[in-house]
């Protein structure tokens, strides 16, 4: 495995309610909390943020002018985790994975944003293979 592609970002947040509710707030109700003012293409013109809860689903912002994609759902295992292909220009082709695990009466939410620094096409292949192999490993654990 190539290590140059793994210098990703990892963030942890603890919330006071169970994974089911944390997952729902993060995805289906993303428009309730996402800071569109600073974290969108349209800024204050954004009227909605949509997270389509299906594999292949889109994550996008809505303005009066139309829709702008942010990501595509690659894997979805509610309420435990999802994996997105992140489509925002400067980080196009990177991956965002968020996991939700029970912790005491609440949950631990861990976000990882990976795939930076893959300017060499060989790195992009190996990062692709890391995803494929990671998926294979998670499937085989389930079996």
């Amino acid at each position: 495995m190539n290590t140059t592609v793994s210098e990703g970002i990892r963030k942890t947040v603890l919330v006071d309610f169970p994974p089911e509710q944390a997952f729902d707030l993060f995805t289906r109700r993303i428009a309730k909390w996402w800071p569109v003012h600073s974290h969108s293409y349209g800024g204050d013109e954004v009227t909605n943020v949509v997270f389509e809860l299906e594999v292949g689903g889109r994550v996008y912002e809505v303005t009066d002018k139309g829709e702008q994609d942010w990501g595509r759902v690659l894997e979805l295992e509610p309420p435990n985790r999802f994996l997105l292909e992140w489509l925002i220009g400067e980080a196009c082709g990177t991956a965002v994975e968020v996991t939700f695990a029970p912790e005491g009466p609440g949950s631990r939410v861990v976000l990882e944003h990976r795939g930076f620094g893959a300017s060499d096409p060989r790195d992009r292949y190996s990062s692709g293979w890391e995803f494929v192999l990671g998926r294979f490993a998670s499937e085989s654990r389930k079996a």
Binding site: I9, V13, V15, H39, E90, C92, G93, F116, G117
Partner: protein
């Protein structure tokens, strides 16, 4: 997304983002880039100049052509940008979660 630093300002233009995305897939000459985009060769050169000044791409002479590729240093700036991007986004998520809990 809102610009933070020169590199992200340079990527504020959709055509420049397309050029940068093409270069992330591998090194290209000006001619190759212009062939895949609905803009003229001089316009591509102008966009490349902005990307180069922002530290996002580097160029190298290869015979008579000039070949451009992504500068890994520019990517690390983008990584840093998303580091604070997620801090702010997750703060808002945690804040909303706290509100709902009350």
């Amino acid at each position: 997304m809102s610009a933070n630093g020169v590199a992200l300002d340079a990527l504020g233009d959709p055509t420049r983002r397309q050029i940068f995305d093409a270069l992330r897939r591998g090194p290209r000459s000006v001619g190759e880039l212009a062939g895949g985009l609905p803009v003229s060769r001089p316009a591509v050169s102008q966009h490349l100049r902005v990307l180069k000044e922002a530290g996002l791409v580097v160029d190298r002479k290869d015979g008579t052509r000039r070949v451009y590729r992504v500068d890994p240093g520019g990517l690390s700036e983008i990584r840093d940008y998303f580091d604070s991007f997620w801090n702010e986004a997750l703060d808002r998520f945690a804040e909303e979660a706290r509100k709902e809990q009350e």
